[in-house]
Symmetry: C2
Subunit: 340 residues, 2 copies
Amino acid sequence: MRATVLHAPGDVRVENIEDPRIIEPTDAIIRLTATCVCGSDLWPYRGVEAVDEPIPMGHEYVGVVEEVGGEVETVRPGRFVVGSFVASDGTCEICRSGYPSSCVHRVFMSQVGTQSERARIPWADGTLVATPGMPDPDLIPSLLAASDVLGTGWFGAVAAEAGPGRTVAVVGDGAVGLLAVLAAGRLGAERIIAMSRHRTRQELAVEFGATDVVTERGDEGVAKVKELTGGLGAHSVIEAVGTQEAMEQAVRSTRAGGHVGFVGVSHDVRLNGEELFFSQIHLHGGPAPVRRFLPELIDLIWRRRIDPGKVFDLELPLDQAADAYRAMDERRAVKALLRL
Amino acid sequence: MRATVLHAPGDVRVENIEDPRIIEPTDAIIRLTATCVCGSDLWPYRGVEAVDEPIPMGHEYVGVVEEVGGEVETVRPGRFVVGSFVASDGTCEICRSGYPSSCVHRVFMSQVGTQSERARIPWADGTLVATPGMPDPDLIPSLLAASDVLGTGWFGAVAAEAGPGRTVAVVGDGAVGLLAVLAAGRLGAERIIAMSRHRTRQELAVEFGATDVVTERGDEGVAKVKELTGGLGAHSVIEAVGTQEAMEQAVRSTRAGGHVGFVGVSHDVRLNGEELFFSQIHLHGGPAPVRRFLPELIDLIWRRRIDPGKVFDLELPLDQAADAYRAMDERRAVKALLRL
């Protein structure tokens, strides 16, 4: 089958690899309908994460089940499914407590690769959720978004305790940050401050429910959020970047007793313990437990209450994956969908 | 009046200083019944925090109101009061949200000094809570403990979400750690793991409700907590030290989705962002909002349901404050009460 493989920083190719097959009786094989490139795929693409050998890329996916192992009970061949970017058994104590992304048997789909024609999904029962039927084609981007970026933005908003009466600030205007804006709105936040200096991203943020846009960054961004919140800072801040600057901006933009939800994959971040102590914030984040939210997110998409697929501003056939990476790396695209 | 003043690391003296007087109409002057030495007083005593000029010491206190400013409404001269180690106005948005220790007008009582015969308490209405009457003498140590170490241990347990069905681990066997054990028990925790290698402290922890004692520290301590919790880690971990080792031990002892309450004043702590991200824990802490808990804690003490005063294992007259500091510095005493 055709699959996207990263050979070295900047060198991503679509090539023929062996078809996946059932290995464990809890596996499913899906034929992908669409996949996409994630901001976190850019870390190895840019060489920030080491690339020691050719690695299959991608961890977001929607598609049709082709085959299941002998122990799979909830998904059947022919069903359209959405799955989390982390496979989880769905039965361990950590899964049952709402944290499938930290399942004791978890498999990061980035280690499997999903920018390909087919993919093996471990722990199919605990990972995949079937849609009510075959989706209309225009729903595909939104369902695909639920696989990671929507689920991750949603978790950021939940971790930051966005809700009625609360002012929410979002650091980061990538797909996750924009969808955190959407999530905060759905969760009932009173005011949503999007931090962005890119006009098209600002516009999408406003379409998703942002009430204010702040273009300043770093200390100036913090000062602006404080100015908008009576000097106190936001109740809820979502960090959707993963850098030192973004984390500091998030912590410092939050009022005492407030909540930071951090969902940008941390890279070389060191948090000052004394600052955290005296900030008196709540901090929670990590790889989003997308599977927890999938039934609700699929329902909202199916009933056309949300349209997270709007974050895809570039669509290419799988074979042009290299162009998709380049466009995202150069920030010409927010997020690129790969058609199959 | 007589007051304790730190002149240089290790050089603490009780000397005559000017009596306090009402400065703001929201002030009260109290005559202290008892005060004490805190683990955090040892930071400047040991030279870990700089001592640039003679500083009045102490921030824990109980006593009788002598005089109040013109705007004080809830406490009257003659009443016995307990107050938080942070003075707070009680009316700002942060106070009302439950975080008086981050009040926009807060005054750390350590900047005022309470190891003295009298003390000026700013924001008397928002800071002090009167007891139902004059306490029996044997209740004084427990009421004094509520001023900081009990309230701080309690906040640690609340921040760590200790409660029914949960396993709680406590890192640190000082007065705050021991009282965090007591708090976790009162909050209904199912299992409480005290981490201590000192026999007398272990005994007090067990008396306060610890079900398990772990003597290992660092990575070995983490391994032991995991062994006791089916490999997952504790649901709730309270950090009551403030060092890099203790924070790492707390984070690593907590299961994914679990909660760390950190109440040890952070010194030179740097948290690894990537580790925090993948740990998927909740982190909350800081200077305890003791005032939030005082009415409940005073009630529990008054009805003799808890006996937090047991953490005081040394009692000396104020004039022997230097001996009290020495005993705590050398870990011969858990906590020293100073009589007046």
